[in-house]
Amino acid sequence: METITPAGQLFQYLITGITVGSIYAMVAVGFNIIYNVTEIINFAQGEFVMLGGLVMVSLHVGMGLPLIAAFPATMIIVTLVGMLLDRLAISPIRRPTVLSLIIATIAASILLKGTAMFIWGKDPYDLPAFSGRNPITFLGAVIQPQYFWVIGFLIITVIVLTLFFEKTILGKAMSACADNPDAASLVGINVKQMILLSFALSAAIGAVAGIVVTPISLMEYDRGAMLAVKGFGAAVLGGLGSFPGAVIGGLILGAIESLGAGLISSGYKDAFALIVLMFVLFYKPSGIFGDIEVSKIKRF
């Protein structure tokens, strides 16, 4: 075995941190889409990721569909689940308050987790890596090919979403709902449909995250909660509602965890990331790219 240089080690920590961070970022982007339209934090976001992974396993491994067909099919199925979530759990709430919406999404996540346990059981599942498992050596660090897929999909997602929200009528209509739902409905935007759309979009993105991460980390029914917490942390660190913020927040969290584990203590790695997060918030209460005005509106 060739030895590894300290520089190589450092590079390896960074690469791994960026990959793990990309997943957090993708979950955070999902949080932001719904937050931007509704100001709801959807704690079932992690369950979309879990479902993405497990549905893909069933379609690709179980039923033998080719990757190229199973990928969109999985996205569609999880998107439908996301829409169902809005219709069954969010829109029927009579007098929505921040707490009741948080509890509703938590209840939904419990339901999804329970259903997933019922369908797939409690064992973890594996998915073949998209382009094999032969690692690439680069500057002394070893990179799994799947890492590129994770980072690549994050970049594609962010570009597509930015274009969608800034260039298309539909995207602009969705942003309008967040700024002022009353005004939006006055100019003829169907706010309810926009909310439904936001759940659909964010479920689809969650599914993508689940599909690309399963070949690295396996997937089982109860992984959603931890992903939701990390993704929420990334979204808050970057500033709720900001897509660049979500990406930066996710990458920073991933990098701190990875470097903290490598250089200081692996037992405390999650704590390092959270301590940094808390200090950023104390210094800048609306996250890195967050709007201070927006952060002041909501109360419980």
């Binding site: 075995m1 060739e2 030895t3 590894i4 300290p6 080690q9 390896q12 920590y13 791994t16 941190g17 990959t19 793990v20 997943i23 346990m117 409690k122 064992d123 973890p124 599942y125 594996d126 073949p128 498992r133 690692p135 050596t137 660090a141 070893v142 799994q144 991460v213 690295i216 980390s217 396996l218 089982e220 109860d222 992984r223 931890m226 990875s258 584990a261 490598g262 692996s266 037992g267 999650d270």
Partner: protein, 386 residues
């Protein structure tokens, strides 16, 4: 008037119901396993096994002609729930003996109850602390256990390493009760075997990647890696180990790796990995001359036939516990103190799934390191390591 009569009638009914719940017509055994929740990989096979064993005993005519009634509660791996469940089993269901809980944490949460209510408890969890009272320096009077301890697993691994002349090792563990307990024993026994621990890395039970920890270890170039975890992380860590090109550093897993499912999930990365396992894991590899050959073969066959899923070694702990409890009930009846005495004095050479048990007043674990055999993954299946 009518209403009052109904109220009186119902009250009388309810009270008489209390008297009707008559003393046991059957031998009652209580069980608490983490059937659902994060540690269901332990409790689920344990429950299935216990239910199967109880059915088999009853189908064969019960215990001295009496039925064996098994009452199972789910602790979900939660200490509070386990505590409540055991109290309910003892005070309300009036069981004569309790088997389980599945985890060291949940077991420690109910250990005081066994003494308080003078009820024998046969735990299905690993830690030696469950049966050993450190302050008094004696075995806990009412508590027994069936699984091998982490100490035995560490003994087995360190012996194997020493034989190969390896002394510089790196250890990795998951930050759960299972990992922490193994890590503690790895560190405690290292001097005894002349092991130098060069790295002591940890990861969370839901972590997605352990490349960082392994990279750090790679830089220190130890002669072997010992990993202590359960669940998906023990598979992911193997893949990272392979991807980082570290296959020249031998990898030792704990006994938690004892399921063929893990070999399959590792997608080839498990080749050459060592781990210490009980006879139950490798029933197919035993020779007919092996003491445990018959029980292991029968359990494997029955379990597959009933549940149509691969056997998990953890179920074997429940098999051992329930069979010992049944044997005690058959010999001394349902008197709790007599059952305890029987377990302590008469379980000598009980052939179970995880070893041959010898309990004594000082030893409520009943096994030694011979209960583990070193196994290596070869061609996608277990093989005995020499």
């Amino acid at each position: 008037m009518k209403l009052r009569r109904i109220v009186i009638f119902t009250t009388v009914c309810l009270f008489s119901l209390g008297f009707l719940v008559s003393p046991a017509l059957a031998f009652k055994v209580g069980a608490v396993f983490s059937v659902t929740g994060r540690t269901s990989f332990l409790g689920d096979p344990e429950k299935k096994t216990a239910v199967m064993v109880a059915e088999q005993i009853n189908a064969a005519g019960g215990i001295n002609g009496e039925k064996l009634e098994l009452i199972v509660y789910d602790s979900e791996g939660d200490a509070t729930k386990a505590n409540l469940a055991v109290k309910k089993l003892i005070t309300q269901d009036k069981v004569s003996v309790v088997i389980g809980p599945s985890l060291s944490g949940t077991s420690m949460a109910v250990v005081p109850l066994a003494a308080k209510y003078k009820t024998p408890l046969i735990s299905c969890a690993a830690s030696y602390k469950i049966t050993w009272d450190k302050e008094k320096g004696t075995a806990r009077k009412w508590v027994f256990k069936t699984p091998q301890t982490d100490t035995m697993a560490v003994d087995a691994i360190y012996s194997a390493l020493k034989q190969k002349g390896i002394s510089k090792i790196a250890i990795m563990s998951v930050t759960s009760g299972f990992g922490a307990s193994g890590r503690g024993e790895l560190i405690r026994l290292a001097p005894e075997y002349g092991m130098t621990i060069m790295a002591d890395e940890k990861y969370g039970p839901k972590d997605t990647d352990m490349t960082v920890q392994l990279t750090k270890i790679k830089g220190l170039a130890p002669k072997a890696i010992v990993n202590w975890s359960v669940g998906p992380t023990q598979v992911v860590v193997l893949r990272n180990w392979r991807d980082l090109g570290m296959k020249s550093i031998p990898f030792y897993q704990s006994h938690g790796f004892g399921s063929r499912k893990n070999i399959e999930l590792a997608a080839g990365a498990a080749e050459g990995v060592f781990c210490p396992l009980g006879a139950v894991n490798i029933a197919e590899l035993l020779t007919p001359y092996d003491t445990q050959y018959a029980v292991a073969q029968r359990y494997l066959k029955d379990y597959k036939a009933k549940y149509n899923e691969p056997l998990s070694s953890f179920g074997g702990h429940a098999w051992d516990a329930l069979h010992m409890a049944a044997q005690a009930l058959a010999s001394v009846g349902d008197d709790k103190a007599k059952i305890r005495d029987y377990l302590e004095n008469n379980i000598k050479g009980f052939v179970g799934q995880h070893g041959v048990f010898f309990y004594s007043p000082d030893d409520h674990i009943g096994l030694d390191k011979a209960a583990f055999r070193m196994v290596v993954v070869r061609d996608g299946d277990w093989a005995l390591a020499d």
